[in-house]
């Protein structure tokens, strides 16, 4: 599609462990369109974080990433030199992590962090350079945009003096200095309490609408995905098993894993008498089943599921499912 901000085709990432490569992510195909929030959801170990980090090239040295296409607004991210990539990361490609405390230098005031980022942004365009000169005023305005009304006071403080919610807001302000084209957020509200979580989610949605950028949101929480995302990609054991518009996936999940996940999720507004279980456990990445990865836990499993991994099948309505129940692709 022409309006794709990010296009990923056949991404695979593995880690070198004692002479062999352990594959943790394979056959990942997705695109993040301009102005859309794509949710990447899955359990711990499903490969959602590794997928995000592969795109941003933030994995440790023993990681091996391969892909047919890794295109970001016409730039091939795979062939980009480390130096060029560094220029792009943080400016046009931004990220927000789970732990805001770890993202700040604990010995420097908030103003120092903002100044650094404005100075770096100043090299991007003359317009940005003008803002960099007036970085104090620009910072206060930016902090107000992310819901911190007393920006001048906050800038005089050290990171440890701010609450988790305030730090996450400040981090978002830092990201916004560049007006990025793509934001990757990895569980950015997990460490926050419920009420602050809701505030930050609202902030994300408003900013994303305003910037009209692409947004890849990594989370394990179906409720958050339902509230925030336009489309959802469900990952299981390193592969995307289902991708499509949020509403359709919630109202009519196709893949047996998605169905199980939704059935075993508890609702708040009604009393659940008996929770449905998905039997079994996640497969060990060193010892994956030969066919469909979900086959050992699947109630629809049959002989052909064990023979070879199923391919993605287009089931219409912008939805793709990796399951033999819907044909062979």
């Amino acid at each position: 599609m022409s309006d794709a901000t990010l296009t990923v085709r056949n991404l695979a990432t593995g880690f070198k462990m004692g002479g062999r490569v352990m594959n943790v992510v394979r056959e990942v195909n997705l695109e993040v369109r301009k102005g859309e929030v794509l949710g990447l959801i899955g359990e711990s170990g499903s490969g959602k974080t590794v997928t995000g980090m592969s795109i941003l090239r933030l994995l440790p040295d023993n990681a091996v990433t391969e892909a047919d296409t890794l295109d970001f607004l016409g730039t091939d991210l795979l062939s980009l030199s480390a130096e060029r990539f560094r220029e792009m990361r943080g400016t046009r490609l931004a990220m927000v992590f789970q732990d805001p405390v770890g993202a700040f230098n604990p010995s420097k005031k908030i103003s120092w962090h903002l100044k650094q980022v404005f100075e770096r942004a100043g090299t991007k365009s003359p317009e940005h350079a003008a803002r960099a000169k007036n970085w104090r005023q620009a910072s206060i305005k930016l902090l107000a945009d992310v819901g911190i009304p007393h920006g001048a006071n906050v800038m005089r403080q050290y990171p440890h003096q701010l609450s988790g919610g305030m730090l996450q807001r400040t981090l978002i302000a830092l990201v916004l200095v560049f007006e990025p084209d793509l934001i990757v957020a990895d569980e950015p509200t997990t460490n926050l309490d419920n009420i602050v979580e809701r505030q930050i989610l609202r902030l994300f949605r408003d900013l994303q609408k305003r910037l009209d950028c692409g947004f890849l949101y990594v989370t394990h929480d179906m409720t958050i995905a339902a509230m925030l995302c336009d489309r959802i990609a469900v990952m299981y054991a390193g592969s995307i098993v289902e991708i499509g518009p949020t509403k359709q996936i919630f109202s009519d999940p196709k893949h047996p894993y998605t169905q199980g996940l939704l059935a075993s999720a508890l609702a708040l507004d009604t009393k659940t008498e008996r929770l449905q279980e998905i039997p079994g456990e996640l497969p060990n990445p060193g010892n994956l089943p030969p066919g469909c990865l979900f086959e050992p836990r699947c109630k629809f499993a049959k002989a052909e599921c064990r023979a070879k991994p199923p391919a993605m099948t287009d089931v219409g309505g912008g939805r793709n499912v990796r399951c033999v129940l819907y044909g062979h692709g």
Binding site: S163, E197, R198, M227, G260, L266, L268, K271, T272
Partner: protein, 348 residues
């Protein structure tokens, strides 16, 4: 095997009741004005300033648990729910207040009496990997408490371990395994089996599913539900997840920065919450397809180390009035079984 499990629980109850014969209708456990505080400043810095400062992690909390009841304690991180659980097991020493089990105040118990009491009260922790000794097999981890507390003759220990594992949904072949060989769900089943070998009257479960994968979580929640209905064990279920609390608990207590602000039967709490904090909490955890456009809760949280007077929820509360600033509202019974700490609840 299930039936035998029931007799374990029954014999345990019989034993508890022998120790102090009590009426069936009295609560299993009564907590009154429990205060647990931690020293924030100590040593030299305390000597240089005006003495040590304290953080009240649990501030004069009172509640009861009936026999066979599941009480949920919900709240955000830092609200003191884990501290209450640990104080009930005397893993933390309370500053003041009482914890009465079958007519005996355990805050004043000596070590010997406490050992006996701890047998009847077991805990299941959040992280099963760190609550099992990595160098012990499952068998050793389960056998040690049985021998220490002389639960059964040594000849019956193996049989008892097998039964506990089976009841927790694990095959006895897991006895020979080490913790690192097991998955998170299996480890939590072992931790639950270990608690069950003691035939406890009360289990304190502290976030036992929050570290588990979503697809495994339902299995463990159903295990808790089955154990509770089959053996009538009382459970204090500590969780930050309101959906989990609604699924498992009979009554729910809502904590906010060391204070219990509301306690009510589960359906009443969900359908007719009275405390403004409970309302805000229920508004934040939406159902599927729910939008982000609900009522907003403004303001930052209470600072437990700095603010000591007034209602803890004052800064965020949409219903605050002047007197909320000067004293924390006392617990008030507004209906049988429904208590609330708020001056202004009638306005809601």
């Amino acid at each position: 095997m299930w039936e035998e499990g029931a007799t374990f629980a029954a014999s345990c109850m019989a034993m508890v009741e022998k120790a102090a014969p009590v009426d069936k209708n009295t609560p299993l456990l009564s907590v009154r004005d429990l205060l647990v505080r931690f020293k924030l400043r100590d040593g030299l810095s305390a000597a240089l300033s005006r003495g040590p400062t304290y953080l009240k992690a649990v501030d004069e909390v009172s509640f009861d648990i009936g026999r066979g009841e599941v009480l949920g304690l919900v709240g955000e991180s830092g609200s003191g729910k884990t501290t209450i659980g640990k104080a009930i097991l005397r893993l933390y020493e309370p500053q003041s207040g009482s914890i009465v089990v079958n007519g005996v105040d355990i805050t004043r118990m000596g070590d010997r009496a406490l050992k006996r009491y701890r047998r009847d009260l077991q805990m299941v922790f959040q992280d099963p990997l760190s609550s099992l000794n990595p160098r012990h097999t499952v068998r050793t981890s389960l056998r040690t408490p049985l021998l220490l507390h002389k639960i059964c003759p040594p000849s019956e220990v193996e049989k008892r371990i097998d039964e506990a594992l089976t009841r927790s949904g694990l095959s006895p072949v897991f006895k020979a395994r080490y913790p690192h060989e097991l998955s998170g769900g299996q480890l939590q089943r072992v931790a639950i089996a270990r608690a069950l070998t003691m035939s406890p009257g009360l289990v304190v479960a502290d976030e036992p599913v929050s570290k588990l994968d979503v697809s495994v979580r339902a299995q463990i929640l159903n295990l808790f539900k089955d154990l509770q209905t089959k053996f009538g064990i009382s459970i204090i279920f500590i969780t930050h997840d309101l959906r989990v609390a609604r699924y498992l608990c009979h009554r729910i207590g809502v904590m906010y920065f060391g204070k219990l602000v509301e306690i009510a039967p589960v359906e009443e709490l969900f359908t007719a919450p009275k405390h403004p904090y409970t309302k805000a909490l229920l508004g934040t955890v939406g159902a599927e397809g729910e939008s982000l456009d609900g009522a907003q809760v403004a303001g930052e949280a209470f600072n437990p180390a700095a603010d000591t007077t007034g209602c803890r929820y004052y800064a965020r509360c949409p219903m605050r009035v002047d007197r909320c600033k000067t004293a924390h509202p006392p617990m008030e019974t507004i209906k049988s079984g429904h208590d609330i700490a708020c001056y202004e609840w009638r306005r809601s």
